[in-house]
Amino acid sequence: MTEITVFQSRRWRLVSPSDLEVDYMSEDNARIVYTALAVDKELQPDKVKRQMSVIDGKLLVHFEAVEARFLRASFSAFVDVLTLATKTIEEFGQGMEL
Protein backbone atom coordinates (compact mmCIF):
# COMPACT_ATOMS: atom_id res chain seq x y z
CA MET A 1 0.00 0.00 0.00
CA THR A 2 1.17 3.49 -0.62
CA GLU A 3 1.18 5.64 2.39
CA ILE A 4 0.84 9.38 2.23
CA THR A 5 1.55 10.99 5.52
CA VAL A 6 0.30 14.53 5.86
CA PHE A 7 2.76 16.04 8.25
CA GLN A 8 0.63 18.70 9.84
CA SER A 9 -1.86 16.34 11.38
CA ARG A 10 -1.07 12.88 12.59
CA ARG A 11 -4.71 11.86 12.35
CA TRP A 12 -4.55 12.01 8.59
CA ARG A 13 -3.13 8.87 7.26
CA LEU A 14 -4.10 8.35 3.68
CA VAL A 15 -3.83 4.90 2.25
CA SER A 16 -4.47 5.20 -1.43
CA PRO A 17 -4.18 2.70 -4.29
CA SER A 18 -0.71 3.66 -5.36
CA ASP A 19 0.46 0.15 -5.88
CA LEU A 20 0.27 -0.47 -9.55
CA GLU A 21 0.13 -3.88 -11.12
CA VAL A 22 0.25 -4.59 -14.84
CA ASP A 23 -0.14 -8.17 -16.00
CA TYR A 24 1.77 -8.72 -19.23
CA MET A 25 1.24 -12.46 -19.06
CA SER A 26 4.82 -12.67 -20.27
CA GLU A 27 7.94 -12.62 -18.19
CA ASP A 28 9.90 -11.25 -21.17
CA ASN A 29 7.59 -8.33 -21.83
CA ALA A 30 7.27 -7.40 -18.17
CA ARG A 31 11.06 -7.52 -17.94
CA ILE A 32 11.45 -5.29 -21.03
CA VAL A 33 9.18 -2.63 -19.55
CA TYR A 34 10.90 -2.90 -16.20
CA THR A 35 14.34 -2.45 -17.75
CA ALA A 36 13.22 0.50 -19.90
CA LEU A 37 11.60 2.34 -17.00
CA ALA A 38 14.22 1.56 -14.36
CA VAL A 39 16.80 3.78 -16.10
CA ASP A 40 15.02 7.01 -15.14
CA LYS A 41 15.22 7.67 -11.42
CA GLU A 42 12.65 9.71 -9.54
CA LEU A 43 13.45 13.40 -9.88
CA GLN A 44 12.91 14.12 -6.18
CA PRO A 45 14.07 10.98 -4.37
CA ASP A 46 13.68 12.68 -0.99
CA LYS A 47 9.96 13.20 -1.66
CA VAL A 48 8.90 10.28 -3.82
CA LYS A 49 10.10 6.68 -3.73
CA ARG A 50 9.35 4.19 -6.46
CA GLN A 51 10.07 0.48 -6.29
CA MET A 52 9.52 -1.91 -9.15
CA SER A 53 9.60 -5.66 -9.45
CA VAL A 54 8.62 -8.37 -11.92
CA ILE A 55 6.77 -11.44 -10.66
CA ASP A 56 4.97 -14.05 -12.77
CA GLY A 57 4.82 -11.90 -15.88
CA LYS A 58 3.48 -8.97 -13.87
CA LEU A 59 5.10 -5.60 -13.34
CA LEU A 60 4.56 -4.37 -9.79
CA VAL A 61 5.19 -0.76 -8.91
CA HIS A 62 5.06 0.67 -5.43
CA PHE A 63 5.03 4.41 -4.76
CA GLU A 64 5.62 6.28 -1.56
CA ALA A 65 5.48 10.03 -1.19
CA VAL A 66 5.64 12.58 1.59
CA GLU A 67 2.74 14.55 0.18
CA ALA A 68 -0.18 13.71 -2.06
CA ARG A 69 0.76 16.25 -4.73
CA PHE A 70 4.19 14.68 -5.22
CA LEU A 71 2.60 11.27 -5.47
CA ARG A 72 0.09 12.51 -8.03
CA ALA A 73 2.71 14.18 -10.25
CA SER A 74 5.08 11.25 -10.12
CA PHE A 75 2.40 8.62 -10.59
CA SER A 76 0.84 10.44 -13.51
CA ALA A 77 4.15 10.88 -15.34
CA PHE A 78 5.02 7.25 -14.69
CA VAL A 79 1.73 5.94 -16.10
CA ASP A 80 2.38 7.93 -19.30
CA VAL A 81 5.75 6.31 -19.97
CA LEU A 82 4.50 2.91 -18.81
CA THR A 83 1.73 3.16 -21.39
CA LEU A 84 4.21 4.21 -24.05
CA ALA A 85 6.54 1.30 -23.32
CA THR A 86 3.61 -1.13 -23.38
CA LYS A 87 2.23 0.21 -26.66
CA THR A 88 5.69 0.02 -28.21
CA ILE A 89 5.83 -3.70 -27.39
CA GLU A 90 2.30 -4.25 -28.72
CA GLU A 91 3.15 -2.48 -31.94
CA PHE A 92 6.71 -3.62 -32.60
CA GLY A 93 7.03 -6.82 -30.61
CA GLN A 94 6.97 -10.34 -31.94
CA GLY A 95 5.45 -10.94 -35.30
CA MET A 96 5.94 -7.41 -36.51
CA GLU A 97 5.97 -7.45 -40.29
CA LEU A 98 6.30 -4.65 -42.75
Binding site: A36, D40, V81, L84, A85, G93, L98
Partner: protein, 379 residues
Amino acid sequence: MGHDLTGSSGNIVVSWERFCEGSGFLLSMGSKWSRFYRKMTALGFEGSANKIGVGVVTLDGTILSNPRHTYITPPGQGFLPRETAQHHLQHVLPLIRSALETAQVSAKDIDCLCYTKGPGMGAPLQVAAIVVRVLSQLWKKPIVAVNHCIAHIEMGRIVTGADDPVVLYVSGGNTQVIAYSEGRYRIFGETIDIAVGNCLDRFARVLMLSNDPSPGYNIEQLAKKGEKFLDLPYVVKGMDVSFSGILSYIEGTAEEKLKNNEFTPADLCYSLQITERAMAHCDAKDVLVVGGVGCNVRLQEMMRTMCSERGGNLFATDDRYCIDNGAMIAYTGLLAYAHGMPTPLEESTFTQRFRTDEVLALWREKEPRNLNGVMKEST
Protein backbone atom coordinates in the same frame (compact mmCIF):
# COMPACT_ATOMS: atom_id res chain seq x y z
CA MET B 1 28.51 -4.09 -28.22
CA GLY B 2 31.76 -3.86 -30.07
CA HIS B 3 32.33 -3.46 -33.71
CA ASP B 4 33.41 -6.89 -34.80
CA LEU B 5 34.20 -7.78 -38.34
CA THR B 6 32.91 -11.31 -38.08
CA GLY B 7 29.34 -10.25 -37.45
CA SER B 8 26.58 -9.47 -39.89
CA SER B 9 27.14 -8.53 -43.50
CA GLY B 10 26.67 -4.88 -42.49
CA ASN B 11 29.81 -4.95 -40.43
CA ILE B 12 31.77 -6.51 -43.25
CA VAL B 13 30.79 -3.65 -45.50
CA VAL B 14 32.28 -1.21 -43.04
CA SER B 15 35.59 -2.97 -43.09
CA TRP B 16 35.44 -2.92 -46.86
CA GLU B 17 34.75 0.80 -46.83
CA ARG B 18 37.71 1.31 -44.60
CA PHE B 19 39.81 -0.81 -46.87
CA CYS B 20 38.83 1.39 -49.76
CA GLU B 21 39.44 4.56 -47.82
CA GLY B 22 41.37 7.08 -49.83
CA SER B 23 41.44 4.92 -52.93
CA GLY B 24 38.32 6.39 -54.44
CA PHE B 25 37.30 2.84 -55.27
CA LEU B 26 34.09 3.10 -53.33
CA LEU B 27 33.05 6.11 -55.33
CA SER B 28 32.79 4.03 -58.43
CA MET B 29 31.78 0.78 -56.83
CA GLY B 30 29.40 2.09 -54.16
CA SER B 31 26.12 1.66 -55.94
CA LYS B 32 26.90 -1.78 -57.38
CA TRP B 33 28.26 -2.99 -54.10
CA SER B 34 25.21 -1.92 -52.15
CA ARG B 35 23.02 -4.17 -54.28
CA PHE B 36 24.69 -7.16 -52.71
CA TYR B 37 25.58 -5.91 -49.29
CA ARG B 38 23.57 -3.82 -46.94
CA LYS B 39 24.98 -0.51 -45.81
CA MET B 40 25.11 0.29 -42.11
CA THR B 41 21.74 1.75 -41.23
CA ALA B 42 20.42 3.62 -38.19
CA LEU B 43 17.00 4.54 -36.88
CA GLY B 44 17.07 7.90 -35.09
CA PHE B 45 14.64 9.63 -32.73
CA GLU B 46 14.48 13.36 -31.99
CA GLY B 47 12.11 14.83 -29.43
CA SER B 48 13.99 17.46 -27.45
CA ALA B 49 11.63 20.35 -28.18
CA ASN B 50 8.29 20.75 -29.95
CA LYS B 51 9.02 18.37 -32.81
CA ILE B 52 9.03 14.60 -32.73
CA GLY B 53 10.88 13.02 -35.63
CA VAL B 54 12.03 9.56 -36.68
CA GLY B 55 14.59 9.06 -39.43
CA VAL B 56 16.34 6.22 -41.22
CA VAL B 57 19.84 6.96 -42.51
CA THR B 58 22.79 4.99 -43.87
CA LEU B 59 26.41 5.65 -42.94
CA ASP B 60 27.06 7.38 -46.25
CA GLY B 61 24.55 10.03 -45.24
CA THR B 62 21.70 8.89 -47.46
CA ILE B 63 18.39 9.78 -45.84
CA LEU B 64 15.93 6.96 -46.49
CA SER B 65 13.09 8.56 -44.55
CA ASN B 66 12.64 11.44 -42.16
CA PRO B 67 9.02 12.02 -41.05
CA ARG B 68 8.27 14.42 -38.21
CA HIS B 69 5.35 16.03 -36.46
CA THR B 70 5.35 19.50 -34.88
CA TYR B 71 3.39 20.51 -31.80
CA ILE B 72 1.83 23.82 -32.76
CA THR B 73 0.41 25.92 -29.96
CA PRO B 74 -2.25 28.65 -30.37
CA PRO B 75 -1.05 32.24 -31.05
CA GLY B 76 0.31 33.89 -27.95
CA GLN B 77 1.29 30.61 -26.31
CA GLY B 78 4.56 28.75 -26.09
CA PHE B 79 5.02 25.02 -25.64
CA LEU B 80 5.28 23.59 -22.14
CA PRO B 81 7.11 20.37 -21.21
CA ARG B 82 4.12 18.23 -20.14
CA GLU B 83 1.88 19.11 -23.07
CA THR B 84 4.75 18.70 -25.51
CA ALA B 85 5.50 15.26 -24.09
CA GLN B 86 1.83 14.33 -24.53
CA HIS B 87 2.08 15.38 -28.16
CA HIS B 88 5.17 13.21 -28.65
CA LEU B 89 3.49 10.25 -26.92
CA GLN B 90 0.66 10.39 -29.41
CA HIS B 91 2.79 10.64 -32.52
CA VAL B 92 5.97 8.66 -31.95
CA LEU B 93 4.71 5.15 -32.75
CA PRO B 94 2.94 6.04 -36.03
CA LEU B 95 6.08 7.96 -37.03
CA ILE B 96 8.26 4.87 -36.51
CA ARG B 97 5.99 2.85 -38.77
CA SER B 98 5.97 5.60 -41.36
CA ALA B 99 9.77 5.96 -41.23
CA LEU B 100 10.33 2.22 -41.69
CA GLU B 101 7.77 1.91 -44.47
CA THR B 102 9.06 4.88 -46.43
CA ALA B 103 12.64 3.65 -46.10
CA GLN B 104 11.54 0.12 -46.95
CA VAL B 105 13.53 -1.37 -44.13
CA SER B 106 12.56 -3.56 -41.21
CA ALA B 107 14.06 -4.25 -37.81
CA LYS B 108 16.60 -6.71 -39.22
CA ASP B 109 18.13 -4.00 -41.45
CA ILE B 110 18.79 -1.64 -38.54
CA ASP B 111 22.28 -1.60 -36.98
CA CYS B 112 21.63 0.78 -34.13
CA LEU B 113 18.93 2.87 -32.47
CA CYS B 114 19.85 6.49 -31.85
CA TYR B 115 18.07 9.01 -29.65
CA THR B 116 18.58 12.57 -28.45
CA LYS B 117 20.10 12.50 -24.98
CA GLY B 118 19.96 16.30 -24.65
CA PRO B 119 19.97 19.22 -24.35
CA GLY B 120 16.26 19.92 -24.34
CA MET B 121 13.12 19.68 -22.26
CA GLY B 122 13.09 16.68 -19.90
CA ALA B 123 9.64 15.20 -20.43
CA PRO B 124 9.73 15.38 -24.25
CA LEU B 125 13.26 13.89 -24.28
CA GLN B 126 12.06 10.96 -22.20
CA VAL B 127 9.60 9.84 -24.88
CA ALA B 128 12.32 9.03 -27.41
CA ALA B 129 14.54 7.47 -24.72
CA ILE B 130 11.79 5.08 -23.56
CA VAL B 131 10.89 3.96 -27.07
CA VAL B 132 14.53 3.30 -27.93
CA ARG B 133 15.08 1.27 -24.76
CA VAL B 134 12.07 -0.94 -25.53
CA LEU B 135 12.97 -1.40 -29.21
CA SER B 136 16.56 -2.17 -28.25
CA GLN B 137 15.36 -5.13 -26.19
CA LEU B 138 12.72 -6.28 -28.66
CA TRP B 139 15.01 -6.17 -31.67
CA LYS B 140 18.32 -6.89 -29.88
CA LYS B 141 19.93 -3.74 -31.24
CA PRO B 142 22.45 -1.43 -29.57
CA ILE B 143 21.56 2.10 -28.47
CA VAL B 144 23.52 5.28 -29.22
CA ALA B 145 22.90 8.48 -27.25
CA VAL B 146 23.35 11.63 -29.31
CA ASN B 147 23.99 15.26 -28.45
CA HIS B 148 21.36 17.36 -30.21
CA CYS B 149 23.70 20.26 -31.08
CA ILE B 150 26.31 17.96 -32.59
CA ALA B 151 23.62 16.23 -34.64
CA HIS B 152 22.76 19.60 -36.18
CA ILE B 153 26.42 20.15 -37.05
CA GLU B 154 27.01 16.70 -38.56
CA MET B 155 23.79 16.88 -40.55
CA GLY B 156 24.81 20.29 -41.86
CA ARG B 157 28.26 19.04 -42.82
CA ILE B 158 27.08 15.96 -44.69
CA VAL B 159 24.28 17.78 -46.50
CA THR B 160 26.35 20.78 -47.58
CA GLY B 161 29.77 19.14 -47.87
CA ALA B 162 31.35 21.78 -45.64
CA ASP B 163 34.51 20.09 -44.38
CA ASP B 164 35.68 22.07 -41.37
CA PRO B 165 33.52 25.17 -41.00
CA VAL B 166 32.88 27.54 -38.14
CA VAL B 167 29.34 26.66 -37.11
CA LEU B 168 26.67 29.14 -36.14
CA TYR B 169 23.98 27.17 -34.35
CA VAL B 170 20.88 29.28 -33.91
CA SER B 171 17.57 27.79 -32.73
CA GLY B 172 14.78 28.24 -30.21
CA GLY B 173 16.85 26.82 -27.40
CA ASN B 174 20.44 27.39 -28.45
CA THR B 175 22.70 30.12 -29.79
CA GLN B 176 26.31 29.00 -30.13
CA VAL B 177 29.32 29.64 -32.29
CA ILE B 178 31.22 26.38 -32.56
CA ALA B 179 34.41 25.13 -34.20
CA TYR B 180 36.07 21.73 -34.15
CA SER B 181 39.44 21.55 -32.50
CA GLU B 182 41.40 18.58 -31.17
CA GLY B 183 38.73 15.96 -30.71
CA ARG B 184 35.84 18.12 -29.65
CA TYR B 185 33.46 20.76 -30.91
CA ARG B 186 34.45 23.83 -28.91
CA ILE B 187 32.07 26.64 -28.11
CA PHE B 188 33.60 29.98 -29.03
CA GLY B 189 30.70 32.14 -28.07
CA GLU B 190 27.14 31.64 -26.95
CA THR B 191 24.18 33.41 -25.47
CA ILE B 192 24.46 34.12 -21.77
CA ASP B 193 20.71 34.15 -21.29
CA ILE B 194 18.07 33.21 -23.85
CA ALA B 195 18.50 31.80 -27.34
CA VAL B 196 17.91 34.04 -30.34
CA GLY B 197 15.05 31.78 -31.42
CA ASN B 198 13.50 32.00 -27.98
CA CYS B 199 13.66 35.79 -28.29
CA LEU B 200 11.91 35.61 -31.67
CA ASP B 201 9.31 33.09 -30.46
CA ARG B 202 8.39 35.21 -27.48
CA PHE B 203 8.23 38.34 -29.57
CA ALA B 204 5.81 36.50 -31.86
CA ARG B 205 3.66 35.80 -28.82
CA VAL B 206 3.56 39.52 -27.99
CA LEU B 207 2.29 40.17 -31.51
CA MET B 208 -0.08 37.17 -31.29
CA LEU B 209 1.40 35.79 -34.49
CA SER B 210 0.54 32.26 -35.59
CA ASN B 211 2.90 29.47 -34.50
CA ASP B 212 2.18 27.64 -37.75
CA PRO B 213 4.52 26.62 -39.36
CA SER B 214 6.75 28.43 -36.88
CA PRO B 215 6.76 31.79 -35.12
CA GLY B 216 10.14 32.70 -36.64
CA TYR B 217 8.84 32.17 -40.15
CA ASN B 218 5.88 34.44 -39.56
CA ILE B 219 8.06 37.18 -38.07
CA GLU B 220 10.24 36.97 -41.14
CA GLN B 221 7.26 37.37 -43.46
CA LEU B 222 6.03 40.35 -41.46
CA ALA B 223 9.49 41.92 -41.36
CA LYS B 224 9.55 42.02 -45.15
CA LYS B 225 6.84 44.66 -44.94
CA GLY B 226 8.79 46.72 -42.41
CA GLU B 227 10.25 50.04 -43.46
CA LYS B 228 11.66 51.71 -40.41
CA PHE B 229 14.58 50.28 -38.53
CA LEU B 230 14.46 50.33 -34.76
CA ASP B 231 17.67 50.46 -32.76
CA LEU B 232 17.73 47.68 -30.23
CA PRO B 233 19.83 47.46 -27.08
CA TYR B 234 22.09 44.60 -27.98
CA VAL B 235 24.76 43.18 -25.72
CA VAL B 236 28.03 41.54 -26.65
CA LYS B 237 30.21 40.50 -23.74
CA GLY B 238 33.56 39.20 -24.86
CA MET B 239 32.67 36.33 -27.14
CA ASP B 240 29.18 35.95 -25.76
CA VAL B 241 25.89 37.56 -26.67
CA SER B 242 22.70 38.38 -24.83
CA PHE B 243 19.17 38.59 -26.13
CA SER B 244 17.02 39.07 -23.05
CA GLY B 245 17.53 42.85 -23.13
CA ILE B 246 16.30 42.97 -26.68
CA LEU B 247 13.23 40.98 -25.71
CA SER B 248 12.39 43.20 -22.71
CA TYR B 249 12.83 46.33 -24.80
CA ILE B 250 10.74 45.11 -27.68
CA GLU B 251 8.04 43.82 -25.34
CA GLY B 252 7.92 47.22 -23.66
CA THR B 253 7.78 49.28 -26.81
CA ALA B 254 5.98 46.90 -29.13
CA GLU B 255 2.57 48.47 -28.58
CA GLU B 256 3.39 51.83 -30.12
CA LYS B 257 6.23 50.97 -32.45
CA LEU B 258 4.76 47.75 -33.66
CA LYS B 259 3.75 48.80 -37.13
CA ASN B 260 6.99 49.68 -38.81
CA ASN B 261 9.97 48.12 -37.19
CA GLU B 262 12.00 45.48 -38.86
CA PHE B 263 12.99 43.28 -36.01
CA THR B 264 14.65 40.22 -37.38
CA PRO B 265 17.84 41.51 -38.99
CA ALA B 266 18.73 43.90 -36.20
CA ASP B 267 18.52 41.09 -33.77
CA LEU B 268 20.42 38.47 -35.63
CA CYS B 269 23.48 40.42 -36.60
CA TYR B 270 25.09 40.20 -33.18
CA SER B 271 25.62 36.48 -33.29
CA LEU B 272 27.14 37.27 -36.65
CA GLN B 273 29.82 39.45 -35.12
CA ILE B 274 30.85 36.64 -32.83
CA THR B 275 31.01 34.24 -35.74
CA GLU B 276 33.31 36.62 -37.54
CA ARG B 277 35.62 36.75 -34.55
CA ALA B 278 35.61 32.97 -34.26
CA MET B 279 36.53 32.74 -37.93
CA ALA B 280 39.46 35.02 -37.40
CA HIS B 281 40.47 32.98 -34.37
CA CYS B 282 40.36 29.61 -36.15
CA ASP B 283 41.64 30.90 -39.42
CA ALA B 284 38.63 29.27 -41.00
CA LYS B 285 37.05 30.45 -44.19
CA ASP B 286 33.74 28.71 -44.28
CA VAL B 287 30.67 29.11 -42.13
CA LEU B 288 27.89 26.60 -41.63
CA VAL B 289 24.57 27.84 -40.27
CA VAL B 290 22.39 25.23 -38.58
CA GLY B 291 19.35 25.16 -36.28
CA GLY B 292 15.78 26.32 -36.76
CA VAL B 293 16.64 30.01 -37.02
CA GLY B 294 19.20 29.03 -39.67
CA CYS B 295 16.28 28.97 -42.13
CA ASN B 296 16.03 32.74 -41.77
CA VAL B 297 16.80 34.06 -45.23
CA ARG B 298 17.93 37.47 -44.01
CA LEU B 299 20.41 35.86 -41.63
CA GLN B 300 21.73 33.69 -44.44
CA GLU B 301 22.18 36.77 -46.67
CA MET B 302 24.12 38.64 -44.01
CA MET B 303 26.33 35.65 -43.32
CA ARG B 304 26.96 35.17 -47.02
CA THR B 305 28.15 38.76 -47.34
CA MET B 306 30.44 38.36 -44.36
CA CYS B 307 31.91 35.12 -45.67
CA SER B 308 32.57 36.50 -49.13
CA GLU B 309 34.35 39.47 -47.59
CA ARG B 310 36.64 37.00 -45.86
CA GLY B 311 37.06 34.87 -48.96
CA GLY B 312 35.02 31.97 -47.67
CA ASN B 313 31.72 30.27 -48.34
CA LEU B 314 28.46 30.12 -46.49
CA PHE B 315 26.90 26.70 -46.11
CA ALA B 316 23.28 26.57 -45.09
CA THR B 317 20.58 23.94 -45.30
CA ASP B 318 16.90 24.32 -45.95
CA ASP B 319 14.07 23.60 -43.55
CA ARG B 320 14.17 19.83 -44.17
CA TYR B 321 17.48 19.58 -42.35
CA CYS B 322 18.03 22.67 -40.24
CA ILE B 323 14.80 22.16 -38.31
CA ASP B 324 14.98 19.33 -35.75
CA ASN B 325 14.57 15.91 -37.36
CA GLY B 326 15.18 12.22 -36.70
CA ALA B 327 17.65 11.70 -39.53
CA MET B 328 20.24 14.03 -38.01
CA ILE B 329 20.16 11.97 -34.82
CA ALA B 330 20.36 8.70 -36.76
CA TYR B 331 23.30 9.90 -38.83
CA THR B 332 25.31 11.28 -35.91
CA GLY B 333 24.57 8.20 -33.81
CA LEU B 334 25.70 5.99 -36.65
CA LEU B 335 28.99 7.89 -36.92
CA ALA B 336 29.58 7.29 -33.23
CA TYR B 337 28.54 3.63 -33.50
CA ALA B 338 30.80 2.98 -36.49
CA HIS B 339 33.64 4.31 -34.35
CA GLY B 340 32.76 1.99 -31.48
CA MET B 341 30.79 4.30 -29.23
CA PRO B 342 27.45 2.62 -28.35
CA THR B 343 25.57 3.47 -25.14
CA PRO B 344 24.70 0.64 -22.69
CA LEU B 345 20.93 0.50 -22.05
CA GLU B 346 21.28 1.24 -18.35
CA GLU B 347 23.16 4.42 -19.25
CA SER B 348 20.65 5.56 -21.87
CA THR B 349 19.50 8.52 -19.80
CA PHE B 350 18.39 11.94 -20.94
CA THR B 351 19.52 15.29 -19.62
CA GLN B 352 18.23 18.83 -20.01
CA ARG B 353 21.75 20.24 -19.97
CA PHE B 354 24.31 18.60 -22.23
CA ARG B 355 27.05 20.84 -23.53
CA THR B 356 28.39 20.50 -27.04
CA ASP B 357 32.00 20.24 -25.86
CA GLU B 358 31.27 17.28 -23.54
CA VAL B 359 31.23 14.92 -26.51
CA LEU B 360 34.37 13.33 -27.86
CA ALA B 361 33.90 13.55 -31.64
CA LEU B 362 35.98 10.46 -32.42
CA TRP B 363 34.71 10.23 -35.99
CA ARG B 364 36.24 13.59 -36.86
CA GLU B 365 39.74 12.27 -36.32
CA LYS B 366 39.65 9.45 -38.81
CA GLU B 367 36.87 10.33 -41.11
CA PRO B 368 36.49 8.30 -44.28
CA ARG B 369 36.52 11.34 -46.49
CA ASN B 370 35.68 9.56 -49.71
CA LEU B 371 32.44 8.43 -48.08
CA ASN B 372 31.53 12.04 -47.69
CA GLY B 373 31.91 12.44 -51.39
CA VAL B 374 29.46 9.66 -52.07
CA MET B 375 26.77 10.93 -49.80
CA LYS B 376 26.93 14.58 -50.57
CA GLU B 377 23.48 15.66 -51.46
CA SER B 378 22.93 19.19 -52.66
CA THR B 379 19.97 21.14 -51.38
